[in-house]
Symmetry: C2
Subunit: 244 residues, 2 copies
């Protein structure tokens, strides 16, 4: 099966969580928007898919995974679908529900990380909501981020399968997503994360170990991995980070 | 199977989406926090479950569904689990992925509806973020809400199974959740919704038809249905609604 991923071509965004799973599994996939426009790629390639109507299952927003005749949206839904097919989740129903539950928490954290720089409106520039962003980021750094990171650290510590992964005994798609969360937070809030990492050693170790996996390392070094930038979910505005 | 639902006892909140599915199916369930404290209920009943540690699958937040030995969190995850067991989702994998995808969009909308009154921090009072709330609510009413409602209206219109439900040919758990979204928005933004409903006739009809289903009508008339109030996700602050 050749999967087709439809996601905006200039940011990692939510598409990156899907890319990491496909890359780790060595899956056959096309990142459609990264193709030249004359081959159906670019933003237009995504836009065309979003406007594809009439089959009664029109997407709301990317990422969209095309798997044969299926069109699947919502990052966590896509990963839940791919997990068993890519060997990235244990077999039992209980473990799969647990993995999906953790992935939905990743999604919650992602919204809150985004809203540190856009607390009023996605449709306005950061500069138009900077005073609100300063307040929201302060709350994020002092209350919400410690709560989320503390929770994931605890899940690693308490995992009966061992503290090197979140679910079961070996790598799960959720580990890849949590790697991406840490990478994004390191980009957006380097000083805050430098302060917080010592208290979250297992999360830091998970981030390191995922980064060194051969297929992930090769992916991160390739042009397929877009750099972080200030158009994505994780943005680096020094004034939102801890003071120097 | 007697299900146990753990959710805060004084608000509808996210627990309500689970309650509606259990009620519509006539399922055997206990809303634990509504029991007297001396029977293990109240906020303490929820708190005890949240602090229950050591099995490696500690919950992050309610709602929590206990189904036999399983503890399941995240509203959409719970509904995905219950759907087939309560006969509230079609059988095919494609339809279930689609239903879950729509439920995750309901979850996205819910966060945005909440953040109209709490755009800075859950931990602060509304009055401490009122100026930010006014800006965020304006954006919600003019851009985000039309986008979400327009999308769900379109899904109803294009559903090959008929425009009286969102997925397949008969009632799905997503229909119950969208009913709850409309009910909540009617409470929080009565003037905005009065203005918008004529453009979304199928959504309005879905809301009416769910409300009249015998088990839902009986539930809504019972003391099990908590009233909306200004402690929940949907809150009525007249200054955030359309002007009179």
């Amino acid at each position: 099966m050749r999967y087709e991923l439809y996601y905006w071509p200039h940011i990692q965004g939510r598409g990156e969580f899907v890319r990491l799973a496909l890359e780790e599994a060595g899956a056959d996939y096309v990142d459609v928007a990264r193709l030249p426009e004359h081959d159906g790629g670019g933003r237009q390639g995504v836009q065309r898919m979003l406007e594809k109507a009439g089959d009664g299952r029109t997407p709301f927003a990317p990422p969209i995974l095309k798997a044969g005749k299926l069109l699947i949206c919502q990052t966590a839904n896509i990963l839940q679908y791919l997990g068993p097919r890519l060997g990235l989740v244990p077999k039992s129903e209980a473990a799969r529900l647990w993995a999906h539950q953790l992935q939905l928490l990743v999604a919650d954290l992602l919204v809150e990380a985004h809203d540190t720089h856009h607390p009023v409106a996605k449709s306005l520039y950061y500069e138009e909501q900077k005073s609100e962003a300063l307040r929201r980021a302060e709350n994020f750094k002092t209350l919400r981020l410690p709560k989320f990171l503390g929770y994931f650290e605890r899940v690693l510590r308490e995992n009966p399968g061992g503290d090197s992964c979140l679910v079961g005994k070996s790598l799960c798609y959720v580990d890849l997503s949590v790697f991406q969360i840490i990478a994004g937070l390191d980009y957006a809030f380097p000083r805050t994360m430098a302060r917080m990492k010592p208290a979250h050693p297992k999360l830091a170790a998970l981030h390191e170990s995922v980064m060194k996996r051969p297929r992930i390392a090769a992916y991160l070094a390739s042009s397929r991995r877009l750099p972080f930038n200030n158009h994505g979910i994780f943005r680096h505005y020094p004034e939102l980070d801890d003071e120097a």
